[in-house]
């Protein structure tokens, strides 16, 4: 199939065929990162702006490394150094960026829908690196890539996502992505963190975390944000770890070939214990490694890469 989308804004707008193409492209590009000279000329002369209006280290560096491995020129702008702090609107800042003719703008923003707004008003390609609680499509794609790499397929797998579903863009994108690819997605967590209508996204709500981990092929633990305590979502980290965390007792119940994932950054000892994070089930660092290949694939595809398919 031929890639036709200008932007990568969310999982909802991607078909199963498009997700497959992205993952296949990413698998093909992954090998570049293992070469002694980790660089190909594919996107030479292309300019990629990394426009991060919310703190991020891992995702921004992953996008940056992905750009450099394809020989694109990447420029990073952080909120503190952008004109947003001087009162410029997001659209004005974006139009100014566009006037300098970049090819791709990667944006992270604290407001849901911000990437879509940008994409609607700009001609350049926009890749959403996370917009509020809405979507984090590249995380979901790299999660799917990691599972497919380990299991060979996504179809028919039981994927459990555990934690603060209500406030997680990763959860939303993972639910939509895995279920689109034929996996059965279950969510679990304290009732304060399960949003209304989550079934409309294609997830079932488990009665307990124990139910969710038992029989799961993939267990995705979400980061618990300490500031949520103040909004009455959970009492203490201690209680959270015991009731909802992936602790050693629960680790003993999981399938022998289960995968443990976490989008990071982890709170060790809260949502995930040491043994789960570092043990044989964990593919957490694989997720990070795949993130680079996955983002290379997206750059490649939105830049029109299918027109010269063997450039890499």
């Amino acid at each position: 199939m031929k890639w036709t989308k200008k932007d990568i804004l969310d999982i909802e707008s991607l078909s199963a065929e498009e997700i497959d193409l992205i993952l296949e492209t990413a698998f093909g590009l992954k090998e570049i990162s293992r070469r002694p000279i980790k660089k190909v000329p594919t996107l030479r002369g292309k300019t990629i702006v990394l426009f991060f209006l919310e703190p991020s280290t891992r995702t921004r560096i992953s996008f940056d490394i992905a750009a450099k491995r394809l020989s694109a020129d990447s420029v990073a702008i952080a909120a503190a150094t952008s004109s947003i702090v001087k009162g410029e609107t997001l659209l004005d800042t974006a139009r100014n960026l566009q006037a300098m003719s970049p090819d791709i703008i990667v944006m992270r923003h604290s407001s849901a829908g911000a990437a879509r707004m940008l994409a609607r008003s700009l001609d350049v390609s926009v890749i959403n690196a996370g917009d509020g609680m809405h979507a984090h499509p590249t995380q979901a794609l790299l999660d799917m890539m990691t599972v497919k790499e380990a299991k060979g397929t996504l179809e028919g797998l039981n994927v459990s996502i555990i934690g603060d579903i209500a406030h997680s863009r990763v959860a939303r994108s993972d639910i939509l992505g895995f279920s689109r690819m034929g996996a059965a997605v279950t969510v679990a967590g304290p009732a304060t963190m399960i949003p209304p209508g989550i079934d409309h996204l294609g997830a079932e709500v488990a009665k307990s975390v124990d139910d969710a981990v038992t029989g799961a092929d993939v267990i995705i633990m979400l980061r618990i944000q300490k500031e949520r305590q103040r909004r009455f979502l959970f009492p203490t980290e201690r209680e959270y770890a015991a009731q909802y965390g992936l602790n050693t007792a629960r680790l003993a119940k999981i399938k022998s070939d289960a995968l443990i994932m976490h989008p990071g950054p982890m709170n060790r000892g809260v949502e995930i214990c040491q043994e789960a994070a570092d043990g044989p089930f964990s593919v957490i660092l694989e997720q990070v490694a795949n993130g680079v290949a996955l983002r290379m694939a997206l750059y490649y595809l939105v830049s029109g890469g299918m027109r010269d398919a063997d450039a890499y």
Partner: protein, 433 residues
């Protein structure tokens, strides 16, 4: 000065419904005469042809009243002025509007109330009834000076835009205002439960936009009903958006509580599906709810639980809407679409035309204590509706200074053909559009 409105269906809900001619003299209704009923001298012969309106095929109703608008003046003239807001009102068929106090400065003093009234008297002729603040500065800490405000011309008090969070303040406001004869209009929103930007439900979960549950509104509706019953004074609930609020008001009315309520056309027309695409033109507070709520609001109008249709006309400049959804201003303009959207309920058979007209004229008039109707001696505030005129609403062609409407581009049926305030034509469809 005489004017004759000839041959229309004159509809004064609960009082009159027949083909009739209306003779207007010096700003007042002089005579209402059923077509076919004889009369000694036909006034038409003595009238200039310009002073005769042929209302054949049209519906002649009491001047419409929008009891909930934001005219933004003083202080936010970049959004709307009394001039542009009243022209939009006239085009929408309204002869009177009640303007909310969240201006800069806040209308919590007689001087601001007088400023609004004096300024309005130099505009197009639409009556402007100021609603003053419940609390000084809308700060929720002490009562505004209701006595002076009433003397200056305020018809009601409301902290609209902000809830009165302190129940004791609300209790005392009801007592004090009730004692001097001012209506209290309540913006019901529990501040602890709200804080989101759209309705809480499947759409907020899908879009990742933070949600406001229905209960954020209904818990305060229930509180205010309890306080109204405690104090024995009436309370008016603004912009009802949820089924639970409708149910609470219905039950309160059934046991005789002095509660009245309004809703806005968007709550019986749209649901939160309209914000799925992050369209900030459909962002308002309270937010658009789900289909069962939309239906309950329409049913509430049909069975009289909800007394009035008011637009909550909330103009905002484009720069306040062309931003991230979280940051976009709340509210939509509504003066020029209200009648068309209301008539759609009539067309669907949900409301009778009488009910719609009552909800847009006599009922709000009663709540704010103003006369309204078509009978000799009353002020000639009259709206002549063309119920079959079809048009496409274009926000940029409207009279309002702002364009923030989710109905932009909608095909509507029915609008004001003439708006007459105090015997003066303040809007005429074929002349002005």
């Amino acid at each position: 000065m005489q004017m004759l409105i000839k041959g229309g269906r004159v509809l004064d809900p609960g009082a009159f419904d027949a083909a009739a001619d209306i003779l207007i003299e010096d700003g007042r209704i002089a005579e209402v005469r059923k077509v076919g009923e004889g009369r000694a001298a036909d006034p038409e012969e003595s009238l200039d042809s310009a002073a005769v309106i042929d209302a054949a095929g049209l519906v002649v109703v009491p001047g419409l009243i929008d009891m909930h608008v934001h005219l933004r003046e003083p202080g936010q003239e970049y959004k709307e002025t009394i001039e542009t807001g009243t022209r939009a009102a006239a085009a929408g068929g309204f002869t009177s509007v009640c303007c909310m106090p969240n201006t800069s400065p806040v209308n919590d003093s007689a001087s601001v109330t007088r400023y609004i009234i004096e300024h309005a008297s130099r505009c197009c002729g639409v009556r402007v009834y100021p609603v003053a603040a419940v609390s000084a500065g809308l700060c929720g800490e002490q009562l505004a000076e209701y006595g002076e405000l009433k003397d200056a011309g305020a018809v009601a008090v409301s902290d609209d835009g902000k809830p009165v969070a302190d129940s004791q303040l609300m209790r005392r406001a009801l007592e004090y205002a009730g004692g001097i004869g001012l209506a209290v209009i309540s913006h019901c929103e529990d501040p602890g439960l709200s804080g989101g930007v759209i309705n809480e439900g499947a759409v907020s979960t899908l879009t990742g936009l933070s949600g406001v549950p229905n209960a954020a509104e209904s818990v305060m509706v229930m509180r205010d009903i309890a306080l109204s019953e405690l104090t024995g004074t009436p309370v008016h609930i603004a912009h009802v958006s949820t089924r639970q609020s409708v149910e609470a008001i219905r039950a309160a009315k059934a046991r005789g509580a002095a509660v009245t309520a309004e809703t806005a056309p968007h709550y019986f027309t749209l649901t939160d599906e309209a914000v799925k695409s992050y369209d900030t033109r459909a962002k308002m507070n309270p937010p658009l709810r789900c289909e069962p709520d939309r239906q309950a609001v329409a049913d509430g109008l049909a069975d009289g639980t909800i007394d009035a249709i008011a637009t909550d006309h909330a103009p905002h400049a484009q720069i306040e809407k062309e931003v991230e959804f979280d940051l976009a201003a709340n509210g939509i303009i509504g003066l020029e679409t209200s009648l068309g959207l209301g008539l759609a309920l009539v067309e669907k058979g949900i409301l009778s035309l009488q009910q719609l007209v009552a909800a847009m004229s006599k009922n709000p008039a009663k709540i704010i204590g103003k006369p309204c109707g078509i009978a000799p001696g009353l002020a000639a505030d009259i709206t002549i509706i063309d119920p079959s005129y079809e048009y496409t609403y274009r926000a940029d062609k409207g009279r309002s200074k702002s364009r923030n409407s989710p109905f932009d581009g909608w095909n509507l049926r029915g609008c004001a053909a003439y708006t007459i305030a105090a015997g003066e034509v303040v809007y005429h469809l074929s002349k002005d559009s």
